[in-house]
């Protein structure tokens, strides 16, 4: 594989950039693989990469119905953070933060990781207490957390509304300085390029039609490009989890919902952190191009439509304008929607299933993008070793049976709880 560097850039500039290698190949599916990963999104590509890199399993195929990186990894708000209180979430996410920090070097691909800090705003004394508790929990787990008072927040984000006569005055906030954003597409492409170079087959435009299961063991899949045998199969299909689960006669604690996001027209730099509204569900950051990137609640009903309705967008942006009134002057450039695998407790599932050789990775709700490296790493471990790693032990499928829910925010599919 051609290494990307300033020298290769100069060299290729001399030939008008016409001689770059393809970043990944377009192979014909083989008859059989050791591992098949279904879903060529961020998590699937990362899983294949870590299978090859950490476990030396390279006879792997990624089966993607559309094109790689065309789902939620290509349409999220790019926020990366580990500001969780529960140990399971905190340790998993912080493990991911360490992978994010060295990802560009690791993948030889600039993912533009930008640790610009995230601030969760607090709008009451009670909320400050809750944030202090969460911040302390984070620090106990080795994650950086700073409790900011009103004046400190004002210094960092002066454009927020600090008037006192408002419905949700800003009391302060909890900041994780090491959180940030990254270039989402580059994450998918970087993982794809490295996985491909280590021998993984990336098979696009290939839809899974059915599964071959016999005597409780997975044998392979039937696809639109023929049958493929595999000893182990990993599902990494986010919003399509329910559709594939039905083909396996499985019913999961997952509902598929619609989540919208939007960007404004580009403006000069005004916001150099990620900021979330504490009295609702709204988050905002500014892209390198200057667009304000915003998102919030689910539309609230089961959907596979990948396009949203205006009432939710209006609700979300009302929160945004309450927090930062200058947003009302901006023109909206683009809005879009994606379909989310919403789990019932708001936390993901990375686990084995009752079918031998079938592994499940789903339930990422609002937070799939930041989890990409840690999800891929732990899922690769779970598949390669046929047992969960301690980092994803809390993300078991069985927790809904036993009552060990991971209800960090307790949101899940029910937006009205917030």
């Amino acid at each position: 594989m051609q290494k990307y560097s300033v020298f290769s850039l100069i060299k290729n500039a001399l030939s008008n950039h016409e001689n770059w290698d393809l970043a990944w190949k377009d192979p014909t599916p083989k008859k059989e693989y050791d591992v098949v990963i279904i879903g060529g999104g961020g998590h699937g590509l990362a899983t294949a990469y870590y299978l090859a890199k950490e476990h030396n399993i390279t006879n792997v195929a990624i089966i993607e119905k559309g094109w790689i990186g065309g789902g939620n990894v290509g349409r999220n708000t790019t926020i990366i953070r580990s500001n969780y209180m529960y140990d399971e979430n905190a340790l998993f996410s912080e493990f991911g933060m360490n992978l994010w920090r060295k990802m560009s070097q690791d993948l030889n691909y600039n993912v533009m990781f930008s640790p610009r800090g995230i601030i969760n705003l607090a709008h009451s004394d009670a909320q400050m207490n809750v944030y202090a508790r969460r911040g302390n929990s984070m620090r106990l787990n080795g994650i950086d957390a700073v409790l900011l008072n009103r004046e400190q927040v004002k210094e960092i984000i002066p454009m927020a509304d600090f008037s006192e006569n408002v419905r949700f005055p800003i009391f302060g906030g909890l900041m994780q300085p090491s959180a940030g954003t990254a270039r989402h597409d580059a994450v998918a492409w970087g993982y794809a390029r490295q996985a491909d170079s280590m021998g993984v087959d990336i098979i696009q435009n290939c839809e899974v039609i059915g599964f071959d299961v016999s005597a409780g063991k997975i044998k392979g899949i039937r696809t639109s490009r023929g049958e493929i045998k595999a000893k182990k199969i990993g599902l990494c299909v986010a919003g399509s989890t329910n559709i594939l689960a039905e083909k396996l006669n499985m019913t999961l604690p997952i509902e598929t919902h619609l989540l919208q996001a939007c960007v404004s027209e580009p403006v000069k730099p005004v916001l150099d952190n990620v900021v979330t509204f504490g009295a609702g569900h709204f988050y905002i950051s500014q892209s390198d191009k200057g667009e304000m990137v915003m998102g919030g609640d689910l539309d609230g009903y089961n959907s596979y439509a990948q396009r949203g309705n205006l009432p939710t967008l209006q609700h979300v942006l009302t929160e945004g304008i309450a927090m930062m009134p200058f947003l009302s002057k901006l023109k909206m450039l683009r809005t879009w929607g994606g379909i989310m695998d919403m789990s019932m407790d708001g936390s993901p599932i990375i686990d084995k299933t009752h079918i031998e050789g079938l592994y499940l990775n789903c339930g990422w709700c609002y937070g799939g993008f930041k989890a990409t490296p840690a999800s891929g790493w732990t899922f690769a471990h779970t598949i390669a070793q046929d047992r969960v790693h301690e980092l994803n032990a809390g993300y078991s499928l069985n927790r809904f049976n036993t009552g060990h829910l991971l209800d960090e925010k307790g949101l899940g599919t029910k937006t009205w709880i917030s």
Binding site: N242, T251, E255, T256, N302, Y304, F400
Partner: protein, 89 residues
Amino acid sequence: MLHIKCPHCGMRSQNEFSYGGDASVKRPELGKDISDQDWNNFVYNRKSLRGKHWELWQHLAGCRQWIKVERDTGSHEIFKTLKAEEEIS
């Protein structure tokens, strides 16, 4: 925006409604022995497929009644609405 025909009030916009999830889910009968799996299916497990989907909505900013709505989860088209006590045919 969705337009939902409330069987009590007529056609209203989505803003007046709150979503209540899959209407085909049945609560296990009281006073009978129920396995953990039955409860798990009732509380957490959902099919959530693409296509026609019977679901509960509450006309929260209207008559406050729960209703059943048959809607396509792929296209958002609404086919039929029923009162809560009416059986899905």
